[in-house]
């Protein structure tokens, strides 16, 4: 396989796609599949055949289009026309509309000009909804693996790293560490026994599904990013650590690896160069802590997945004691476009210190829930009100929770704040991996803190004392506050333990687990006091009587 072969495949696939005057794309990512988009696709196929339109109308399974809550979703490609809540019975109406321009029933028409779609900027998700995730040719037809070829044949590893550094890309797994710096550290580490590249596809944050969508919708993009990384840091072996709860992602990844090896864009002598790179998928049992780098490595090595103190960092001593690069799915998804378009291009998007775009899983009390990708620096207000379509049922906005169990709640006064790593941190939250939960006045903030504490308590690995015992106590104290039996001393104890857990825990799970408590206390202390002093939950969520005159 060389560059000419690749071009040929791309041309051939484009030619194969060209005669089709009409396209019908059906989402076959997990969420739409779970509401039977496979049946929709079969029905559409049959309808097209029945009308003898096979030569001019193509029905194709594609990746996630973002507005999962309205699924199954169908589009006419490039999101010109979109259909929502589609069933197999709608097949005829859709073909009528796409091919014959007949109006479609209002119930299934989805306005593709919605700000939800138009307000996005897609880099990571550029192929989602457009290409067939199960066909490598489809990926190649949109420029796939060109960046890898380019890197292998006309760039030195140092030049690749230079472009990544220039791009300003920061890790999307949560901490936002500069990716170029991480790569150069691994590249410099002496790796006499080999080096490894690991893709962290554990995605343990409750409610998050950004990484899953990318894996299911565009798996080759991840493989290409990993291969470029491996070339840059000098690794020949890679692992994708994916949670077993993502069976479709795992299947598509495995298939993609097979296709890529068959074509020679992975495996021995990649693209006819001297570079070899093999990738294996490893399944995680679905423990949140296994997303932590050292725990993940222990798990791949076949040990109990618990973190160990750092240093040494994986970049120096990781998998089997050798230098190891670990990046998140979304981080890898950004690599090929950066190599293709140059670091400066990427650095031109976003804010001064947070470059590029970020994928968020928008959830909670907003009209449009689903997956969005926006340039860094857009305001929360834009996300909630423009893309998200505002708060339903005429209720009042209260807070946005970002960063999952390690994050915090951001109140109304910061709605116009730019969403980037620094701003979010300055108000006591974090970017995290991209979970974004909108809350209205029917949410009790103490209850929210309790929910995340319950998660951290249950997911604590139990290795270190402050996290193992501290989170349990914090949960108990929050439960006491919500059920109306807590005193001021309990609140003081909660704050005291929270501080110790934050500063003395071994890994990020424990260190960040008090964040939801800190941030709700910072902005909503009155709600805590209300529960303690007046035994009342303003939002009427907690199991205690609402005091007269409080809440709606």
């Amino acid at each position: 396989m060389n560059q000419e072969d690749l071009k040929e495949i791309a041309e051939k696939q484009k030619e194969a796609n060209a005669p089709f005057e009409h396209n019908i794309h059906v989402c076959v990512a997990a969420s739409c599949l779970s509401s039977h988009s496979d049946q929709v696709m079969t029905a559409l196929d049959q309808e097209v055949k029945k009308r003898g339109l096979e030569q001019c109308c193509k029905v194709k399974g594609v990746g996630c289009m973002g507005l999962c809550a309205a699924g199954p979703l169908v589009s006419s490609g490039n999101n010109e026309k979109m259909f929502q809540n589609v069933t197999a019975m709608d097949a005829a109406a859709i073909v009528d509309n796409v091919v014959d321009e007949k109006p479609a029933p209002a119930a299934i028409v989805l306005d593709s000009k919605l700000p939800f779609f138009r307000g996005q900027k897609k880099i990571v998700l550029e192929n989602c909804g457009e290409i067939d995730p199960e066909k490598i040719e489809d990926y190649i037809a949109v420029g796939g693996y060109e960046a890898l070829f380019h890197a292998l044949t006309s760039m030195t590893p140092a030049q690749v790293i230079e472009q990544i550094s220039k791009s300003g890309l920061r890790g999307r797994g949560g901490a936002g560490f500069p990716t170029g710096l991480k790569w150069s550290t691994v590249a410099k580490a002496p790796g006499t026994k080999g080096k490894y590249v690991i893709c962290n596809a554990d995605e343990g944050d409750p409610g998050a599904f950004m990484d899953r969508s990318v894996l299911e919708s565009d798996p080759h993009r991840i493989l290409e990013g990993m291969a470029i990384a491996a070339y840059a840091v000098g690794a020949n072996k890679g692992y994708i650590y994916c949670r077993a709860e993502y069976p479709l992602a795992v299947k598509r990844l495995k298939d993609a690896i097979k296709q890529a090896e068959k074509l020679g864009v992975l495996g021995n002598e990649v693209c006819d160069t001297r570079f070899s790179f093999r990738v294996e998928v490893r399944l995680g049992a679905g423990a949140f802590v296994c997303g932590e780098e050292t725990a993940l490595i222990a798990s791949i090595e076949g040990n109990r997945g618990t973190p160990r103190p750092r240093p040494p960092f994986p970049a120096q001593s990781g998998l089997w004691g050798t230098p190891t690069l670990i990046n998140n799915v979304e981080t890898f998804a950004n690599i090929a476009p950066i190599v293709r378009n140059g670091g400066d291009w990427f650095a031109g998007i976003g804010t001064e210190k947070s470059k590029g775009t970020k994928v968020f899983a928008l959830a909670g009390r907003v009209t449009n829930t689903g997956l969005i990708e926006v340039p860094m620096g857009v305001s929360l207000r834009e996300i909630v009100y423009k893309l998200g379509g505002g708060i339903p049922d005429g209720r009042k906005f209260k807070a946005v929770q970002t960063g999952g169990p390690s994050g915090g709640c951001i109140p109304e006064q910061y709605l116009d704040m730019a969403v980037d790593y620094e701003s979010l941190a300055s108000v006591g939250s974090i970017m995290g991996s991209g979970g974004m939960i909108v809350m209205d006045d029917s949410s009790c903030m103490v209850d929210v803190a309790k929910y995340f504490m319950d998660f951290c308590m249950s997911e604590s690995c139990g290795k270190c004392v402050p996290c193992r015992v501290g989170t349990a106590h914090m949960y108990d104290l929050l439960a006491k506050i919500t059920n109306g039996t807590a005193s001021q001393e309990d609140l003081a104890m909660l704050e005291r333990i929270a501080e110790v857990v934050k500063f003395t825990s071994l890994c990020g799970l424990g260190q960040t687990s008090p964040n939801p408590v800190f941030s709700t206390l910072r902005y909503f202390r009155d709600e805590y006091l209300n529960h303690i002093e007046r035994k009342s939950c303003g939002a009427g969520v907690c199991s205690q009587p609402k005091a007269a005159g409080v809440g709606a």
Binding site: R308, P309, S458, E459, C461, G462, V465, V469
Partner: protein
């Protein structure tokens, strides 16, 4: 490593200038110089795991607290091992341990000979301010010579490590997450039915609390044979 290739570093611990080999931890150097840093999961001769967090110290220029037992010395490091903040955190951590299971010292076999108890005394803890959690924990007395009382266990995993690293039996492991975590023998079967246990007693001797004890010992009678400990180091150093 040949001694000639080991670099010597100088650093300050609690204001005192000390010298150290580059491969030493802050804890080792502090102990050599008679500076006390409290520890629980650390045991000389076993691999360090940095899990109890009692030995955390402050290092100038780093906002994070670092575990002295696993942190290697660096040239020019300025370490504080006993600040008010550290003392305060250590007290809370020890209180958390007391609250986690069931520590009624007056009826414990290890009363008077317990690392957790003496740590509390050293730190000036007079009472436990956080509520006791009192989970239901079983006692395993199936072994012919030893008893495992989970109620007194602090999950330091010294038993796990000594059995695996020194005795080579790997009878012990940890199962469960968070506050459900507990040490188990073999595949969570009774200790007395263990196929791997050689009854060497090493785990019992290194256990810092009354969790592992010899049968036949009554309240306060279980003192551990600490003279046994240097042997661990010897065994370890004898290894390749």
């Amino acid at each position: 490593m040949s001694p000639a290739s080991v670099e010597i570093k100088t650093l300050k611990i609690d204001g005192r200038d000390v010298g150290a080999r580059e491969d030493q931890t802050i804890l080792e150097v502090a102990l050599e110089n008679g500076i006390y840093i409290p520890t629980l999961c650390h045991l000389e001769g076993l691999t360090e795991i940095g899990a109890c967090r009692i030995c955390l110290v402050e290092v100038k220029g780093t906002p994070k607290l670092l575990p002295a037992c696993v942190t290697r010395v660096q040239e020019g490091m300025e370490v504080m091992v006993n600040s008010e903040r550290l003392q305060n955190y250590r007290k809370v951590i020890v209180e958390l341990l007391f609250s986690e299971r069931n520590h009624i010292c007056s009826v414990c076999v290890s009363n008077g000979h317990c690392d957790l108890q003496s740590m509390a005394q050293k730190l000036g803890i007079t009472h436990i301010s956080v509520p006791y959690r009192h989970p239901h924990m079983p006692v395993d007395a199936s072994h012919e010579r030893y008893i495992n009382d989970h109620n007194r266990c602090i999950l330091c995993t010294r038993c796990v490590r000594v059995c695996h690293e020194i005795e080579g039996a790997h009878t012990w492991d940890v199962t469960g997450r968070g506050s459900q975590a507990k040490v188990i023998t073999d595949l969570n079967t009774a200790w007395g039915e263990s196929d791997t246990c050689t009854s060497c007693g090493k785990c019992v001797q290194v256990c810092p609390t009354g969790a592992l004890s010899e049968k036949g010992k009554s309240v306060s009678e279980m003192s551990k044979r600490r003279q046994f400990l240097p042997y661990l180091t010897l065994m370890r150093e004898g290894r390749p």
